[in-house]
C-alpha cells in the first residue's frame, strides 16, 4: 500500500500551483474598470462634500441674469457651465449640492432597504416553519401593496423631510430583494455544506452570516447597484408628488422631475442630472462586479 506522504506530492494538480493569493484590494486595483468606478464614486463624494468651494454660486440663488427676459433658462455656456434652471439657478451648483441628497437616498436608503430585504429574505429562507412563512406572507403583502401609495401616505402623515423620505424608501424597497434572497437562501440551505455545519454544532446565526450570506453577495450586488437608480428616482417621484424632499433643496431626481416637461426646450436640465444618476449607479456596478469576482475564490487568477 502507498504511504500517505507520497500521495501528497502526486495529487497536487498542476492548475493549483500558484503563489499565495494577493489581498482583495491589490486584486481590485488590477482591474481597470473597478478603478474607473472607484474614481467616479470618489469624484461624486468629492463634489458633494466640497460643493461650496467648487462653484461660485449658491444652490438656491435665483440670479437675475440666470433667465432670459422671457423667463427662459440659459443654456450651458461660459458663465453657467451646465446652464441654469427655470428659476435662473446655476445647474452645476445644484447638481453638486444635489449629490448630497441623492447619495443619502441612493446609498443610505437603498442600503437600509437592501439590509432589511436581505435579513428578511435570509431568515425566511433559512428558518422555514412559522417564522419563515410569517415573514414571506408579510413580503407578499408588501409586494401586493402599491409602494407608491404607501410612500405617499406615510410621507403625508409625517411631515415630509429628507430622512422621512429615506425611511419611506427603505420601507417600501426591501420587498423585491427579500423575495429574491428568500428563493436563493431556500436553495442554499438545502446544500450539503449547511448540513455539514449543523453537524459541527454551528448555531443558526453562524450559519446564516458566515456561510449563507457570503454566497448571496453577487445577488446583493446586482440588486444594490440597480437599486441606486431606482431609489434616486423614487425620491424624485415622491418629491414630485409633494411628499419628498422639499424645494428648494436640490436632488438629482427632483431636478429631473421639476424640469422634465421642458426637456425639449431645455434638454440640459434633464440630461445632466440623468447622466449623474447613471454614472453613480454604473460606478457602483463596476466596483460591485469587480468585487464579486475578487471575492469569489473560484475566480482567483482570472484577473487581467
Amino acid at each position: 500500500m502507498l504511504k500517505t506522504k507520497e500521495i501528497c506530492v502526486t495529487a497536487i494538480e498542476p492548475a493549483t500551483l500558484r503563489s499565495a493569493a494577493p489581498s482583495v484590494w491589490t486584486r481590485l486595483r488590477r482591474r481597470k474598470l473597478a478603478l474607473i468606478g472607484l474614481a467616479l464614486i470618489a469624484l461624486t463624494f468629492f463634489g458633494a462634500i466640497f460643493a461650496p468651494w467648487l462653484t461660485p454660486y449658491e444652490p438656491n440663488d435665483q440670479m437675475f441674469d440666470g433667465l432670459t427676459l422671457q423667463g427662459a433658462p440659459m443654456p450651458p455656456g461660459a458663465q453657467f457651465p451646465l446652464g441654469t434652471d427655470l428659476l435662473g439657478r446655476d445647474l452645476l451648483t445644484r447638481i453638486l449640492y444635489g449629490a448630497r441628497t441623492s447619495l443619502i437616498i441612493g446609498l443610505v436608503a437603498n442600503g437600509v432597504a437592501l439590509v432589511i430585504g436581505t435579513l428578511i429574505g435570509i431568515t425566511a429562507g433559512y428558518f422555514r416553519g412559522f417564522i419563515g412563512s410569517a415573514l414571506m406572507r408579510l413580503t407578499d403583502l408588501m409586494m401586493a401593496f402599491p409602494a407608491l401609495l404607501l410612500a405617499i401616505c406615510l410621507a403625508a402623515i409625517f411631515q415630509p423631510s429628507l430622512w422621512i423620505v429615506a425611511l419611506v424608501i427603505a420601507t417600501v424597497n426591501w420587498v423585491q430583494t427579500a423575495r429574491v434572497i428568500y428563493t436563493e437562501t431556500s436553495s442554499l440551505s438545502q446544500r450539503e455544506f449547511i448540513a455539514a455545519e449543523k453537524t459541527l454544532g454551528a448555531g443558526h446565526l453562524r450559519i446564516l452570516f458566515r456561510h449563507i450570506l457570503p454566497h448571496l453577495v453577487p445577488m446583493i450586488i446586482v440588486w444594490g447597484t440597480l437599486g441606486i437608480s431606482t431609489t434616486v428616482l423614487l425620491e424624485a417621484t415622491l418629491s414630485y408628488l409633494g411628499v419628498g424632499v422639499q424645494p428648494p433643496t436640490p436632488s438629482w431626481g427632483n431636478i429631473i422631475f421639476e424640469n422634465q416637461t421642458y426637456f425639449q426646450a431645455a434638454p440640459w436640465l434633464v440630461f445632466f442630472p440623468g447622466l449623474a444618476i447613471v454614472i453613480l449607479a454604473l460606478a457602483f456596478n463596476l466596483v460591485g462586479d469587480a468585487l464579486r469576482d475578487v471575492l469569489d475564490p473560484t475566480q482567483r487568477g482570472q484577473d487581467q
Binding site: R137, L141, M143, A144, L154, P218, V222, L226, L233, L282
Partner: protein, 306 residues
C-alpha cells in the same frame, strides 16, 4: 393542481384582506378631509355634517372598515366621492387598457431584456457586454416621462410610424409598452446575463454540443429554457413595479388605463377609488405571482405541485 390553486387562492384572499385593511387605515390617517372636498367651498357647516353622516364617515374607524368589507364581499366597491359613479364601473371601463399595456410592457421588457442579457452573456467581457451594461443602467435610470416623450417625438411625430398617443390598435400599444419595457429590460438583462452564464457552464450544454447540435439550437432549446427559470419569478414582482410607471406612461400616451384614474383619485383624496384601484392592483400582483408560479411549474418539470 386543483389543490395547489385552491391553497394559493386562499392565501391570496388573505393578502387582499391585509392590503384592504392597511390601505383603509392609511387613508383614514391621511390629514385631509374628503367631506370638505365633496361639499365645496360655499358649503355650510350643516351641509358638511349631512354629507359626513350620509357617507358614514362620522363612524369609528372599525365600523367604517367593517362596512367596507361587507360591501366588498358583495363585489361592491362603493361610489366615488367626487364622481358619484360606481367605482367598479370606473375600474371596469379602464382595466382592459391597463392589462393590455401590462402585457405589452412585459413582452417588451422580456424581448429586450432577455435579448440583451443573452447577448451580454455570450459576449462576456467584450465591448458588446460593456455597452449593454451601460444601456441597462440608462434604461433603469431614465425617467419614464422623458423616455415616453422622446419615443413619441421620434417615432410618432418625426417618423410617423405610430399614432401620437391614443388607444385602439396595435400601433397605439407599441410606444407605451416600450417605454415601460425599457425600464424593466435593464433589470432583466442583468439577471438574464448572470443566469445564462451559469447555465452555459453546465454539463447538459456540453452534452447538447456533443450531439452535434448547432450553436443556435443549443442556445435556444437548451440554454434559454433553463436560464429563464429564475427570471420567470421576476414577472410577478414586475407587475408591482409597473404600477408606479403606469401613471406616467398612461398620461404621456393618453392611454385610458387605471393609472390616470388612480392619479386623479390620489390628488383629490377620492377614497373609494383609491381603495378600489389599490385592491385591483393588489389582485393583479397576486395574480401575476400566481401566474409566474404556474409558469415556473410548467417550465420546470422538476417542481412538483404540492
Amino acid at each position: 393542481m386543483i389543490n395547489f390553486l385552491g391553497r394559493r387562492l386562499l392565501q391570496s384572499a388573505m393578502i387582499l384582506l391585509g392590503v384592504s385593511f392597511i390601505t383603509f387605515a392609511l387613508l383614514y390617517l391621511l390629514p385631509s378631509d374628503p367631506v370638505r372636498q365633496i361639499a365645496g367651498r360655499s358649503a355650510t357647516a350643516q351641509t358638511v355634517a349631512n354629507i359626513r353622516e350620509q357617507l358614514g364617515l362620522d363612524q369609528p374607524f372599525i365600523v367604517q372598515y367593517w362596512r367596507y368589507l361587507m360591501d366588498l364581499l358583495q363585489f361592491d366597491l362603493g361610489r366615488s366621492y367626487l364622481q358619484k359613479t360606481e367605482v367598479s364601473a370606473l375600474i371596469a371601463a379602464r382595466l382592459p387598457a391597463t392589462l393590455l399595456l401590462m402585457v405589452g410592457a412585459i413582452s417588451a421588457e422580456l424581448v429586450l431584456g432577455l435579448g440583451m442579457g443573452i447577448i451580454a452573456a455570450l459576449r462576456r467581457g467584450t465591448t458588446t457586454d460593456n455597452t449593454l451594461m451601460i444601456a441597462s443602467f440608462i434604461g433603469v435610470s431614465a425617467p419614464q416621462f422623458v423616455v415616453g416623450l422622446l419615443l413619441l417625438y421620434v417615432f410618432a411625430v418625426q417618423l410617423g410610424w405610430f399614432p401620437i398617443g391614443g388607444y385602439g390598435t396595435f400601433g397605439h400599444l407599441v410606444l407605451p409598452a416600450l417605454t415601460l419595457g425599457i425600464l424593466g429590460s435593464g433589470w432583466y438583462s442583468r439577471m438574464m446575463r448572470s443566469s445564462m452564464i451559469d447555465v452555459l457552464r453546465q454539463d447538459f450544454i456540453r452534452t447538447a454540443h456533443a450531439k452535434g447540435l448547432s450553436r443556435a439550437r443549443v442556445l435556444l432549446r437548451h440554454a434559454l429554457p433553463n436560464a429563464i427559470l429564475p427570471v420567470i419569478a421576476m414577472i410577478g414582482i414586475d407587475i408591482g413595479i409597473f404600477m408606479g410607471g403606469i401613471v406616467i406612461v398612461e398620461s404621456v400616451f393618453g392611454w385610458p388605463g387605471i393609472g390616470q384614474l388612480a392619479w386623479q383619485a390620489i390628488q383629490r383624496v377620492d377614497i373609494p377609488i383609491i381603495m378600489g384601484v389599490t385592491l385591483v392592483s393588489a389582485c393583479a400582483i397576486v395574480l401575476g405571482n400566481l401566474v409566474a408560479d404556474i409558469a415556473t411549474l410548467f417550465a420546470d418539470p422538476r417542481i412538483k405541485v404540492r
